[in-house]
Symmetry: none
Subunit: 223 residues, 4 copies
């Protein structure tokens, strides 16, 4: 009985292949995390994945493609984590919306922060890292879109979007590298939200040209 003639395995090949690909990528991440990029050899990855190097090259044309796919998946996961909370923003009052967006950004950076760090910090700038830039660009455009939609920073929403996005991404990457635990403290989200909030909705006196005047207003802040 069992296992007899008619084994109804559906898409057995594809299923197997998918599992192999996943195992390889998982192994890649593990090696990267535990041994570092310097020890990320295709042979090490294959061994850890429990397949032969030959198989690895069946699914990934070369080492770059392997890394590229790992990056793509990681960025994809960040993207998903971010976008998941975004639809709820529509219709929310500003303050809550900002808090939500800040939180979404945080959630995105909580996706495997260790891998995130290795990916940003150890990888030579070979092919596959393009995915990261693509995500960053997407974030910038999304931000600009939101600003325009709400009529905020109407003087130059694009610039504001880029400045804000890059600042917050940089803030999170640096925090991941230098102080990863901070990412989970409520105070950190509070600051992120505050930064967004203030930067995007400056008191009137800071708006546009008023800015230049403010510079000359001369409140002493010296020590």
């Amino acid at each position: 009985m069992a296992r007899s003639k008619k084994n109804p395995r559906r898409k057995p090949v594809q299923g197997r292949a998918q599992a192999t690909v996943d195992a390889i990528l998982e192994a890649t991440a593990q090696v990267l995390l535990e041994e570092g990029y310097a020890d990320l050899t295709t042979n090490a990855v294959a061994k850890r994945a429990g397949v032969s190097v030959g198989s690895l090259y069946q699914y990934f044309g070369n080492k770059d493609a392997l890394i590229g796919e790992l990056v793509r998946r990681h960025v994809g996961a960040m993207r998903d984590a971010f976008l998941e909370t975004l639809p709820g923003v529509v219709g929310l009052p500003k303050a809550e919306a900002f808090a939500l967006i800040g939180d979404a950004l945080l959630q995105a950076h909580r996706v495997d922060p260790a891998l995130n760090q290795v990916l940003h910090g150890q990888l030579p700038r070979v092919g596959g890292l393009a995915a990261i830039d693509a995500f960053d660009t997407e974030l910038e455009q999304l931000a600009a879109q939101v600003l325009r939609a709400r009529g905020m920073r109407s003087d130059n929403p694009e610039l504001a979007a880029r400045v804000l996005t890059r600042s917050l991404s940089g803030l999170m990457r640096a925090t991941i590298r230098r102080e990863p635990k901070l990412l989970d403290e409520p105070a950190f989200l509070e600051e992120v939200t505050l930064l967004m909030d203030l930067y995007l909705e400056p008191p009137e006196r800071y708006q546009s040209l008023a800015f230049a005047q403010a510079r000359a207003s001369g409140d002493d802040i010296a020590s």
Copy 2:
């Protein structure tokens, strides 16, 4: 009198050695810039510097030491560029002080931005990169010091300092990578200053506990 006949030769030995060291570091930067880290071989560096590999190893114990020194010099130059404008800040009114600090930060990141990018983006996180972290830390501490001195963000000056410093550094690095020309546009400095200004001197309603209430105030910002 004195310095009469025999004095012209100025430490010829040291001069030679210094020139060789400089040539090697210059070549390292060039190879990094033109070929990328993947092609940064000690032989390639030596050839481009017009010296033999042996000479390279006379001055740098190994490849890591070479890269380390390059990083150290670059960071040192950034540090100098930054600190140069800083003393003038004491005694200035807040708005001007912020603008100056923002400008100093910008000046620091205008030091060989292409190298800056390669250093941040392509280098495996080996030895010498510690200098970068050291500089970042220094900036954070400097910022915290300024905040405490001026009594700003007194609720948590350390956190504010870290958030602001990391944000601005990240902003500049991302801008260098993605849009280097923006670094030189006055509007960019304006934004940087604005960000600092607002974040550090939020209107009263945002201060401390008031923050939580503000979140619930409910101005609609949705699209």
Copy 3:
């Protein structure tokens, strides 16, 4: 029964690997013999073995391990050659036993005498040479055992064993280096046996304390 249909392939993988390993070791010996230790490079060995360096390193972790294994095999062959004739010694009258042991020693040193010489004379005292010392120690212990078993040189069988073993080994090594053909002449074996015989069974007058008196007996041997 059994062994019916499918059995012809005898561990083809292991066979291939074994053949490669043997070829590499053979090549190592050849290079050592024909070019000397100074030209014993891993690339030269691989080329002569008809494999790539990579394969060499698949089987030998480093150059030392390669040499070590060569030494181990050579010493093993000497050991086998020696031990082969030893069991027959039990029960033999002394004179025949000595002749047999002497012959066994000779047989051991007839195992690739040229390699023996190179191994003893050219190799830096790195790792693998430990096998040689181990064999020498084994010989010493064996000799001591025999002496004790037969009650010979009962005054100090250990010392006698060491002196005799080292003398004979040294004699053979020097002869291999300086006059290899002598190893195969019957007269040489005769001398070896004589030396053993006399040293181990000295006439009474030499025994123990008698020795000191003999020194004073005063037969003139001067020229």
Copy 4:
């Protein structure tokens, strides 16, 4: 005044040169002893000798010549130590003569035994080691001469000389390597003398053809 025209430095150059040469050779021995042959670089030797590499090459054409001279001096010292006691042998009774010769051989091997060991064990068989073989040959010839002069082992004094000389040299080298302290124990000299004594003056029954008969005599020596 002083140091004026006529500076009476006699052979100052030669004296300086000699001192330099000595310092270099001394440094060579030290490096060999403390660091091993693998770390015996010309630069290391020069540094330790307190001279420049250039000077080293002024006096020694290449590394081989340097090692060669060191070997030559070491062997020369051994030769001196040996020959020093030899003249006294003439006219002595056999037993005393043997003891004296054995002691001379010991004295020779007590000349820097550590260096002796390194020289024999670590050096690749490059040029200069010829001096060792020359000394060994000399010893063999000396021994043959003595045997002929005293009419000992008249059946084949040359063979006996070679066998004895090589045995004793081998014994001493092995002892230096494996048990250096034994070299200074009186019991060791006693054994050396005993070996010489017995081997060169075998009881009649062992002489020449009698030997073959002895082999068949059949005393049981089995365990």
